[in-house]
Homo-oligomer: 228 residues x 2
């Protein structure tokens, strides 16, 4: 078990290195998938303004992917090998949350990526400074998603029935994200240890982490004008 005190930042511990590679591999594949998915959502956009904005978000995800991939290479890891264990759960998440229309796509981009980034930031807090800085840079909101908030708020105000449907959609996204994370946790022991080691590995700390993630999700849904 990797713990904060003795080895969480110790590169000579092969388990720590392996866990960081897992974490960066999961993030890298998530970004690559997000790039393709967002670029594809452009076809659903109601106008060129939105179509361009979502493309801008997509290219930001690809830039993040390259940063993570390059870091894996720097660490002497094979990015393809590092990403492979996460292909199936991340693809499964996307397959079970295919947006039916443009608005669902926007909410997914904003809420889904938000959940993932919050989680990565929490984990990063307890890692070595280099990994932490990289994860924080990748997780930083580049401001591209402001257009999502504006667009969803506008549509909800125009047609209040939309709000109910999108609120349910937000809950489904959260539920599917939790389900797939549990699958990953069950399969990637060293990654789980890294996460648990980082936050303290006691039940209170785990509960607190989930409470924090849920609270951030709630705030995001509210900022869209949706009941969490």
């Amino acid at each position: 078990m990797v713990t904060t005190q003795d080895s969480a930042m110790d590169w000579s511990d092969p388990e720590y290195r392996e866990a960081v590679i897992d974490l960066l591999g999961a993030m890298a594949y998530g970004e690559l998938q997000a790039f393709e998915r967002l670029a594809n959502d452009g076809a659903l956009a109601p106008d060129f303004y939105n179509r361009t904005a979502i493309a801008e978000m997509a290219t930001a995800e690809f830039r993040h992917f390259k940063m993570l991939r390059d870091r894996l290479i720097e660490m002497g890891a094979d990015p393809e090998v590092a990403m492979t264990p996460f292909v199936e759960p991340i693809d499964a998440f996307h397959a079970s949350t295919r947006p039916a229309d443009w608005l669902e796509g926007l909410v997914k981009a904003y809420v889904g990526d938000g959940i993932a980034m919050d989680f990565y930031r929490v984990v990063a807090e307890h890692l070595d400074p280099q990994t932490r800085d990289l994860i924080n840079e990748v997780s930083a909101d580049l401001g591209h998603s402001k257009f999502v908030v504006d667009a969803v708020q506008y549509c909800v105000a125009e047609d209040p029935r939309v709000a109910g449907r999108l609120a349910l959609w937000g809950r489904r996204l959260m539920g599917e994200a939790v389900a797939q994370s549990q699958r990953v946790a069950a399969q990637r022991e060293s990654l789980l240890d890294l996460v648990l080691g980082g936050i303290g590995a006691d039940m209170a700390a785990i509960t607190r982490m989930f409470a924090d993630l849920t609270e951030a999700h709630t705030a995001r849904m509210r900022s869209l004008g949706l009941e969490p």
Copy 2:
């Protein structure tokens, strides 16, 4: 009729300005569509190397789109208005040339974009320096497509039956490109005048332009190891 001698580079001629806006609008929409299409093709890639390479090509197209859009704004034009007339023919081209698999997608990216870029470069030769430089920059091969040549050559060598299918595919791409260009030419008079004015507007010049474009297409097919 815009002619090279008197007005092809004369911004005070509203017809010249209108035609350049048309040209940049067509290119901009083509790049935006190419971005979405290539990003989407990533899902068909056989491995991460190819998946990343096609994503890299896609983001280059989006960068080109932004250059063209920003130039339209600089010119005082509305990019959305400038692109709109070309949405239907460009979408129709893509709808009629949907790749059935990864290899067809690669050939389309390489051969289809090649035809378009050659055409734009020929037209650009006779335009004002600022427009010409922008078009040449956007049309420049960034080297991202070298991986296409390698990948197609490799597959053709592995399975020679693939070569016949892809050769037919290349011809269909050329045929559809010509068909949609004719549609645009019939609808956008000032753009047609710009093209014809630039190359001299006589039958010999038009024939020569088509011969040049066909020759470049032939060379591209050969470089892929395909019978043109």
